[in-house]
Amino acid sequence: MSSKQQSVTAVSLGVGFATGVYAISFGALSVAAGLDLWQTMALSLLMFSGGSQFAFIGVIATGAGVVPAILSAWLLGVRNGFYAIRMNPVLSVRGLLMPVAAQLTIDESNAVSLLGEPDRKKERLGFWLTGIAVFVFWNIFTFLGAVLGSQIGNPTDWGLDAAAGAAFLGLIWPRLSQSKFLALAVSSALVAILLSEVLPAGVPVLLTALLAVGFWLFGMRGGKK
């Protein structure tokens, strides 16, 4: 195994663990919102998309009912669709592997894969290792969170919220040396932060997709800049 592939493995496992530990919060909050252990586990195993899962239990906890909960989870899942479009030609999966790849298509697996571009082998390895690592850790820690509840303390006491931000920053870091990506990243972060004051959780992040489309159209029209 080359040193490049070893570093893909290290990043995949690191991301998998850092993200997975966060599911302790999900498990604990889900039970507090009124779901039982098995409903909580079903969300982590079947929905397997952090943003949508937190939205679902968040709406249930407010007592707004199941229909708004379903709609928010669905809406927040859109970005996995964008990632799936990116992963489709990279993986070119057929048959039974395709639905498995689809389930593992989340922020982290797509981002680690993007890190490997343009080396197709690293793109694939990063996707599968990260997807599987996040899935395993996410479900283990969901279970622990749901069973132990608040006994294990708050993930923020361990700085895990800062770890999540640092991990995502590291995944896009190599792209930021290009001015176009740097400008897009800074404006997306600013827009999302400001919109978070007026829009429900999750929606500001989704709206930055429009910024990406804007940069894309501008880049095509202006050619090289």
Partner: protein, 101 residues
């Protein structure tokens, strides 16, 4: 509608987005322009997540231990420190700052 059916229906709906991307013909999505758009979308969404995870709390926009932790992480990535080390250091700094302040 029971809570169980809501769990299953919403999981299926979230999965439908994931599956959708793989059902689009590969010829269309391997177009270089679509690849460029996919890279831009990934960077925009992740940068937005970094912003939210660092500057937004349940009470709104907030500057706390996460901000110096992220700044340090940026510096360490710039210095080419390995990814996993940076993530662990960021968590440790945030945790320590919360103990002392």
């Amino acid at each position: 509608m029971t809570l169980w059916s809501a769990v299953l229906i919403s999981s299926a709906l979230v999965y439908s987005w994931k599956l959708f991307g793989y059902l689009v013909p590969e010829k269309f999505v391997s177009n270089p322009k679509i690849k460029e758009l996919s890279a831009l979308l990934t960077v925009a969404l992740l940068a937005a997540l970094v912003g939210i995870q660092t500057f937004v709390s349940t009470e709104g926009i907030a500057i706390d231990a996460r901000v110096p932790a992220l700044a340090l992480a940026g510096l360490l990535f710039y210095l080419r420190v390995p990814f996993v080390v940076v993530v662990v250091v960021a968590a440790a700094i945030a945790a320590l700052l919360r103990v002392f302040f």
